[in-house]
């Protein structure tokens, strides 16, 4: 039985860990190494680390920091941020990263997705799709941390990255980020209907019921930021991770 995965998403900015709201106003959460150690003790299923400062032109991953993070992570770690070449990916995998997450590069350079999946296996290539809600329920894929428009429909884009060789999707609803209002389940359903890839849903989780709802509607895994790093009412930093080992997994 495959257990449902709950995945903390950690945002790096410089050497610190931050949390955003609707991709804006990063608040300092703590030292990333410490936070990974805590998640390690809690035996989390997997973690995603996204360096939101690495995307800027001329920047790239902080390999030294990534190496220190993977040295502490005895669970799979997916890294994203400033990955634009196979060479960068090779370095990341050597440091102990399990999966590399592409966002802007997956759109601008589909050939990179193809070559990466050929070299590293498609299971190691995650494409994150950041989605913004438009009028009349329409949704648009955004790049560069939500700043650049594409006019692309998320489900169509998901299908194209799947055929390019992506192994997994990290589907992130920008409008829900940091709100704890619940996931964008409509977005999930539209994407799941178009692809056979595992979809990790992100953006808006605030309680366990949100996870259940997403899993019931076809998410392979649930990701969250705020819920794992802030206390619900006070908003104070508190690293937590729920135990859902009693939940039913894939029943087959």
């Amino acid at each position: 039985m495959l257990r449902p995965r709950l995945i903390p998403v950690l945002l790096l900015q410089g050497a610190g860990l931050v949390k955003t709201r609707r991709f804006k106003n990063p608040i300092y959460v703590g030292d990333p190494i410490n936070v990974v150690r805590i998640f390690n003790d809690k035996e989390v299923d997997e973690i995603v680390v996204l360096d939101i400062a690495a995307t800027a032109p001329g920047r790239g991953p902080d390999f030294d920091l990534v190496g220190r993070l993977t040295g502490e992570a005895f669970m799979p770690l997916c890294y994203g941020g400033g990955v634009r070449s196979l060479d960068t990916m090779r370095k990341l995998f050597r440091l102990g990263v399990e999966k590399v997450c592409l966002n802007t590069a997956a759109h601008d350079d589909p050939e990179l997705v193809r070559r990466a999946s050929r070299e590293f296996g498609r299971q190691s290539v995650v494409v994150s799709i950041d989605v913004k809600r438009r009028f009349f329920g329409r949704r648009e894929v955004m790049l560069e941390g939500g700043r650049r428009r594409t006019r692309l429909d998320p489900a169509e884009f998901a299908r194209s990255v799947e055929s390019a060789g992506a192994g997994e999707l990290l589907l992130n609803a920008i409008d829900r980020d940091g709100t704890r209002e619940g996931y964008d389940l409509d977005l999930l359903e539209r994407v799941v209907a178009q692809v056979g890839l595992p979809v990790i849903l992100c953006g808006g989780a605030g309680e366990l019921a949100h996870f259940r709802a997403a899993l019931a509607r076809g998410a392979a895994a649930c990701a969250a930021g705020s819920m794992f790093v802030f206390q619900p009412r006070t908003g104070a930093v508190l690293i937590t991770y729920p135990d859902i080992s009693c939940w039913e997994g894939t029943p087959l």
Partner: protein, 211 residues
């Protein structure tokens, strides 16, 4: 001392980290002469089958690996792709495998109701130990491990199967044959369960059973 083969395919860093956490001495090696002197070997790897075999060929490692596996009979543990490379061949590619285990690597294929199961099989799943399963000693009945793969071994000899996992159907998640061990999951990323599997391998004394 455990030798971890570094042939440019995947997450060697994680394997070293986990061994270090267990207090075991390990080193990364890619030179055939050094592999020749290894007394315990881990063959890690993620990615495509042909790419993995191609890397082994290019680094001149194939003859010395055969030597280690068949003549010197040192304990060898294949992880994920490393485990698949121990088989004869894979549906994923054209290259022949190392051929140490009488098995083929096949893709997950589901029909009917099962067709909605996502591939790759990715996440935490339980392994049911089969037979003596030296690697799973002391782990209890339902140890869980992290998997990421679209292909799996299919053994011709059921005696080679050391563990099975259910995903659509029961598939071979671990193999043992004499001095040869393989796991489809990632012990280096499976918290205390994985640490225990690597520790069991690290503590193996000798393997005199015929390969």
């Amino acid at each position: 001392m455990i030798t971890v083969l570094d042939y440019g395919v995947g997450n060697v860093g994680s394997v070293l980290n986990m061994l270090k956490r267990g207090g075991f001495e390990a080193r990364l090696i890619s030179d055939p002469d050094e592999v020749q002197r290894a007394d315990k070997l881990i063959l890690p790897g993620v990615g495509a089958f042909d790419h993995g075999m191609d890397r082994l060929q290019r680094l001149g490692l194939v003859p010395v690996l055969h030597e280690c596996a068949r003549r010197r009979r040192i304990p060898i543990l294949g992880i994920c792709l490393g485990c698949q490379l121990m088989a004869r061949a894979s549906e994923e590619g054209q290259s022949p495998g190392l051929g140490w285990i009488d098995a083929d690597v096949v893709e997950f294929r589901f029909e009917g109701e099962l067709a909605r199961l996502p591939r790759p099989h990715m996440g935490w799943n339980e392994v049911a130990p089969r037979g003596p399963a030296r690697l799973f000693a002391g782990l209890g009945e339902r140890p869980r491990f992290y998997f990421v793969h679209s292909f799996h071994l299919r053994c011709a000899d059921p005696a080679d199967v050391a563990g099975e996992t259910l995903y659509g159907y029961p598939f071979t998640a671990a193999i043992e044959r004499g001095n040869l061990f393989g796991v489809q999951f990632h012990p280096e990323k499976s918290h205390r369960y994985g640490l225990q599997v690597l520790s069991a391998f690290a503590r193996l004394e000798s393997c005199s059973a015929p390969a």
